[in-house]
């Protein structure tokens, strides 16, 4: 009787989990397995896959395009991830109180994230246009002969390598709606009494931020840092594809994601692309592992298990 009952429970559980498990296996695990295998092979959709061992990886180390993509991705992550987090945190702390204009301000902070990625990219293509784009028109305000007030040439967003990289990072700084909402909720969940206590002790705004807000929000910030690091290889994909097309030449804004995309779907080098994907994945795991250890150490330092 009892075991029959449990069997029924199990059947029901299996039935309910089935759609998810099928999706997970068919759409994630299987392709991941195929990618892993293909990283050690050569495959162009026409001829049968050919086993090449570590050949793809050896080639990657010699490929200037891959090296550029790797460096670009790391620089992008190192700048864009912390900058996005800081901006979202700043906005959340600025807008967590309920006052008159806060609703509209919160909406505008989230809005760019709601724009479809392609449309967002096309919008920036116009914004960043060196001649008639609003950004450079703004920078030229008050200057003469197409120069800025300081007499310098405005950034050549789409043609100068450094300016183009800066442009892609700039684009990524506005799509922080989700991070902003999470931080807003986290800030609003903090108990008001600790802030009142800080006010009674005459703590300055900086002291309150440093000694109260930041430590209390640290767990959420740590989690968002991990998430953004994992995702940072993807933030740069659509902008690089649409706005800069990986250039200016040769590879100023070719990031790992774009490198993989091109090799797989434009050059039909599936094995090579799979090897690059594997490197990207290992890099993510390494970065996340490092951050995870830092966060755990911080947590051990500051909080102990609840009694």
């Amino acid at each position: 009787m009892r075991s029959g009952h449990r069997d029924a429970d199990r059947r029901q559980l299996a039935l309910m989990l089935a759609p998810y498990l099928v999706g997970l296996v068919a759409l994630v695990l299987l392709p991941a397995g195929v990618t892993l295998a293909m990283a050690f092979a050569e495959y162009d959709l026409i001829q049968a896959p050919r086993w090449v061992g570590l050949g793809n990886f050896v080639e990657l180390t010699r490929d200037p395009a891959f090296r550029a993509a790797l460096t670009n991705s790391l620089v992008f992550a190192a700048i864009a991830v912390p900058a996005r987090l800081l901006i979202a945190l700043g906005l959340a702390l600025l807008l967590h109180r309920r006052t008159r204009v806060v609703g509209a301000a919160r909406t505008s902070a989230v809005l760019p994230t709601a724009v479809p990625e392609i449309a967002y990219g096309l919008l920036w293509l116009w914004l960043l246009n060196p001649f008639y784009g609003p950004i450079n028109q703004l920078l030229r305000l008050g200057g003469e002969n197409g120069l800025t007030v300081l007499g310098r040439t405005p950034p050549q967003w789409l043609t100068d390598p450094t300016d183009a990289q800066a442009g892609i990072i700039l684009m990524s700084l506005f799509t922080i709606g989700e991070t902003f909402i999470i931080l807003l909720a986290a800030r609003r969940a903090l108990p008001p009494e600790v802030y009142e206590l800080a006010a009674i002790e005459d703590a300055t705004g900086w002291d309150v931020f440093r000694r109260v807000t930041l430590p209390l929000m640290a767990p959420v910030l740590g989690l968002l840092l991990l998430r953004d690091t994992i995702q940072s290889f993807q933030f740069s994909f659509v902008p690089a594809l649409i706005v800069t097309e990986g250039g200016p030449p040769p590879y100023a804004t070719t990031y790992l994601s774009l490198f993989v995309y091109r090799n797989a779907f434009e050059y039909l080098r599936y094995g090579y692309a799979a090897a690059a994907t594997l490197v990207m994945l290992l890099l993510t795991v390494a970065a996340v592992g490092l951050q995870w250890r830092l966060i755990r150490r911080y947590e051990r330092h500051t909080t102990a298990e609840r009694g």
């Binding site: 108990p191 009494e193 600790v194 009142e196 206590l197 800080a198 006010a199 009674i200 002790e201 005459d202 703590a203 300055t204 002291d207 000694r211 109260v212 430590p215 209390l216 640290a218 500051t302 909080t303 102990a304 298990e305 609840r306 009694g307």
Partner: protein, 341 residues
């Protein structure tokens, strides 16, 4: 304003959220006095405390602390310390860092801050917990840490907002006694908010009974008990509450104007007096060795406190009388106390 005023409120008004909650309060708390603000929830006790601390702006009147008008100063400039009902400890700081927080943000040298934190912790009996974090402490221990943090800076006024309400009964009684002893040792002007009448009676040098944003009576616990100024005070302090009957009701007293209310505590009700009014026992609550008998007398309910051993049976007919010297008189219209002639 006398010279030893620790805290002075003059016609203090406040309207948090737009509706006036404090309607012109006047109060003077002497230095080293422990004043308990007692009232039901919603009376404005916590708002009063927050206005004194500066966390809520006053919409009228004045707050003076140690003969200094602080009405328009920010909280940090008032030299008060506060113990919150939730303790408001920082979960990421150790006990020592929590206690020293106020001194650290005021740029007290770290060594001095640590030393003073240690002494404050020892004064309230949590010196052995300095290295722990709030998450590792029991409710009573957290309460002590919050007290130590309030003590450490030697403020002009201590504000305590229902500090014992999150503790279980046994710990509450114990901590109550410790707070009283602590106040005896370290002194200081304290304003202690509670809705617990026992806490107020035990702790307070004086009690301010509050209702709907006004003080009903500010007096010593003795006076509050023996001479309640209004029917509200009479019924709020004491359990079960004082009986209030119209003077023309079943229990009559010569020389009392018939418009008055007569009030008498359950313990001065005499059952079985042959001259008493006839009543029927409706309900009897036994609390240990005493019992509270609810007796219906001519349409009015009278509560009598009797020994459990001698309690009447439910439904029994009893004769109810009152020890007349212990009766209070109140004006039926205003609820104010009237002198017994």
């Amino acid at each position: 304003m006398s010279n030893d005023d620790g805290l002075l409120l003059e016609d203090l008004r406040a309207a948090p959220g737009g509706t006036e909650v404090l309607h012109g309060l006047d109060l003077s708390v002497a230095r080293d006095e422990l004043l308990v603000v007692l009232g039901p929830s919603g009376a404005g006790k916590s708002t009063l405390l927050r206005v004194i601390a500066g966390l809520e702006p006053a919409t009228g009147g004045r707050v003076s602390i140690a003969r200094r008008d602080v009405t328009h100063l920010r909280p940090g400039r008032r030299n008060v310390s506060m113990v919150f009902q939730s303790y408001a400890l920082f979960p990421h700081l150790t006990v020592a860092e929590n206690i020293a927080f106020g001194m650290i943000v005021r740029d007290t040298p770290r060594a001095e801050a640590e030393e003073r934190a240690r002494r404050a912790a020892e004064a309230v009996g949590c010196g052995h917990l300095l290295a722990r974090r709030p998450g590792q402490l029991s409710g009573g221990e957290r309460q002590r840490v919050a007290l130590a943090r309030a003590l450490v800076r030697a403020p002009d006024v201590f504000l305590l907002d229902e500090p014992l309400s999150n503790l279980d009964l046994e710990l509450r009684v114990e901590t109550r006694a410790e707070i009283k002893a602590l106040h005896g040792r370290v002194g200081g002007t304290m304003v202690y908010v509670t809705h617990d009448q026992t806490e107020a009676l035990v702790l307070g040098d004086r009690i301010a009974v509050m209702r709907d944003g006004s003080f009903e009576q500010v007096d010593t616990p003795d006076a509050i008990w023996r001479m309640p100024a209004t029917t509200f005070v009479a019924r709020f302090v004491g359990s079960p509450p004082m009986n209030l009957l119209p003077a023309e009701g079943p229990l009559r007293l010569a020389e009392v104007p018939l418009t008055a209310l007569i009030g008498f505590r359950p313990e001065v009700v005499v059952l079985g007096d042959p001259l008493g009014a006839e009543g029927t026992v409706e309900r009897v609550d036994v609390v240990g060795d005493e019992a509270h008998a609810y007796i219906q007398v001519d349409g009015h309910t009278v509560v009598a406190r009797v020994l459990a051993a001698g309690r009447p049976a439910v439904g029994a007919e009893v004769r109810v009388a009152v020890r007349w010297p212990d009766v209070h008189l109140f004006d039926a219209a205003t609820g104010r106390r009237v002198a017994v002639s």
